[in-house]
């Protein structure tokens, strides 16, 4: 599979990141790289610091040490909305949709960064504001088609089943046309069919839009099938990094997952 893939240069470089809350260390000196158009999985046991890592990458947590290079720009700290403006979008471990709004509106919020017409135009709903709204609506409809959620376009997302909510959340992230898409356990709590659908959407996203994807997932089958490259964290430290087959055979990884006898 790798032969046919067109993987480019480094898009994101995380360098020697350390993060702690008070005295509790969440991440210790982790470095990793995600290259353009690849699918990179971050795995590890519960509490390994995976979600914290994503939070650092999109600027929600501020690491005490280390730097992040994204698209050639080096930064130490960042506000989340700036990360979003720079092209990082993500989904969340526990669905974080805007429950009071319809599917369509939720995905439209993903376009918000690209909508610039000021409120006076919008207040009157004429001319440029209206045209802008319609252009973005059209783009969002493409995403709705792509994710096969036409039928629930106008349904408040609070009423949707879990699997569909996850899909809408992916749609919201895609609407921002991200360079880097971070998915935090996109398949948690899904049945087999839903997982297969989700895998298909992830692969299609990567194929069709050339989006780079960073993925946290517990289902090893999924991880090994989807990813080009796997990073393993344990207790906030990186213990392995490489192509799936190599990582699978790594003794440290096996120990972390199965436990080691301390004698």
């Amino acid at each position: 599979m790798n032969e046919t893939r067109n993987i480019g240069d480094t898009l994101l470089k995380v360098d020697n990141i350390s993060l702690s809350f008070g005295g509790v260390k969440a991440i210790t000196g982790v470095s990793l790289e995600i290259r353009e158009r690849e699918i990179c999985a971050i795995i590890g046991p519960n509490g390994a610091g995976k979600t914290s890592m994503l939070n650092v990458i999109n600027g929600f947590y501020h690491p005490q040490e280390g730097t992040i290079t994204f698209g050639g720009e080096v930064r130490k700290q960042m506000r989340p909305h700036l990360a979003a403006a720079g092209g990082i979008a993500r989904t969340f471990q526990n669905v974080a949709l805007f429950t009071g709004m319809s599917t369509l509106d939720n995905i439209m919020t993903g376009r918000n960064l690209k909508m610039k017409k000021n409120f006076l135009w919008q207040a009157l709903n004429i001319g440029p504001a209206r045209k802008e709204e319609l252009e973005h609506r059209e783009f969002v409809e493409h995403i709705i088609d792509f994710l096969e959620i036409e039928a629930i376009r106008k349904t408040p997302v609070g009423r949707l089943p879990y699997g569909l909510q996850k899909r809408v959340e992916l749609g919201r992230a895609l609407a921002a046309e991200p360079k880097l898409l971070l998915l935090d356990e996109p398949m948690a709590g899904m049945n087999v069919e839903e997982k297969e659908d989700m895998c298909r959407f992830i692969l299609d996203t990567n194929d069709e839009f050339g989006t780079t994807i960073g993925l946290i997932e517990h289902d090893m089958g999924v991880v090994m099938d989807l990813s080009d490259h796997v990073v393993v964290l344990d207790h906030g430290e990186k213990i392995a990094d490489g192509v799936p087959d190599v990582v699978r055979a790594d003794q440290n990884v096996i120990d972390a997952y199965l436990g080691v006898a301390h004698d």
Binding site: F21, T51, F60, N94
Partner: protein, 322 residues
């Protein structure tokens, strides 16, 4: 040139009046300053008493009970009404406490239970409805005149180190302190206290381990009612039992944001800070800006404080997760 000098002098004068003179006054008349501070502390205890009722209910049921002020009024009206009918003080106290339990039961049955799991703002709204009802009901039954309340707390003035103090204020502070100690022990060491803390943490989880939510709520609202009664006695003795008593709820709110909605020590310390801050500002700076600042000063003080410490006095720093 002369005009400029004049306006310069005027500016300096204003700055002097704001930033220098009040402090000079404080240092040159330390006894008076101490009297102001002590007066503030004692008023602060009274604020704390009202705030305490809010905290109890918020802690246990997550309800921002705007009706706490109305409960203070209602309790005091009931007490004073009974006493005017010739009922002895001790009996009137017991009956008034009993009435507050009934109020708690009725509120739980008719208002809280149908609104379980509704958003906070809806419950807040319902408590405003309760406020209106209690105010209307209390005045329908007991009339809207100002009633004098005297439950026999001594009220003489005496002097310590040149400061004029009132015996009643000291009593109020002592009773306030005793209530806080009692509540703190109650929360920490009794079965109901532990259940209360569990409910405060997570309703659903508490229910699932078999804690009877209904009973807990009735207990909490009753206790808040007793606290209201005590506050009502204090404030009522001081300024007469009248409609404006329910407005002291508005005085307790800045205390709440300062001390945190869920912290009993926060309510106390917050009350003291607000009491002192308000008194000092009123005496030393109030005249400069036309006086009558007591309606908003406490809010501004609490706000300014929150800008530096958004989690309140005793809140822990919140780590947000996604």
């Amino acid at each position: 040139m002369f005009r400029q000098n004049g306006s310069f002098a005027k500016t300096m004068e204003v700055l002097n009046a704001i930033f220098v003179l009040p402090f000079v006054d404080m240092f040159t008349e330390p006894v008076f300053f101490a009297e102001v501070v002590v007066g503030g502390l004692l008023t602060g205890v009274m604020y704390s008493l009202v705030a305490l009722g809010f905290v109890l209910i918020f802690k246990a049921s997550g309800v921002f009970n705007f009706a706490q002020g109305a409960m203070v009024l209602f309790a005091a009206l009931t007490l004073v009404g009974l006493m005017e009918k010739g009922v002895p003080v001790w009996l009137a106290l017991i009956i008034a406490a009993g009435v507050m339990v009934i109020v708690a039961v009725v509120i739980e049955k008719l208002v809280l239970r149908p609104l379980v799991n509704q958003p906070d703002i809806i419950l807040f709204m319902a408590t405003i409805g309760i406020t209106f009802f209690l105010e209307g009901f209390g005045e329908t039954v007991w009339g809207s005149d100002i009633h004098r309340l005297d439950v026999g707390i001594p009220d003489a003035t005496f002097e310590i180190g040149g400061m004029l103090l009132n015996e009643f204020d000291i009593w109020a502070a002592a009773i306030g302190a005793a209530m806080v100690a009692f509540l703190a022990l109650f929360f920490r060491y009794t079965v109901i206290g532990r259940a209360l803390r569990a409910v405060a943490d997570d309703h659903q989880a508490a229910l699932s381990v078999g804690i009877p939510l209904k009973t807990i709520w009735i207990v909490v609202w009753s206790v808040a009612g007793f606290v209201g009664l005590v506050a009502g006695i204090m404030w009522g003795t001081k300024s007469g039992v009248q409609f404006s008593l329910s407005l002291i709820a508005l005085k307790a709110l800045p205390v709440l944001i300062l001390g945190g909605f869920t912290s009993i020590p926060g309510a106390i310390v917050g009350g003291l800070i607000i009491g002192v801050g308000e008194k000092v500002a009123e005496i030393y700076w109030g005249p400069l800006i036309g006086g009558a600042i007591e309606n908003w000063f406490a809010y501004m003080l609490a706000l300014a404080f929150l800008l530096f410490r958004p989690q309140g006095l005793f809140g822990e720093k919140i780590i947000e997760r996604v």
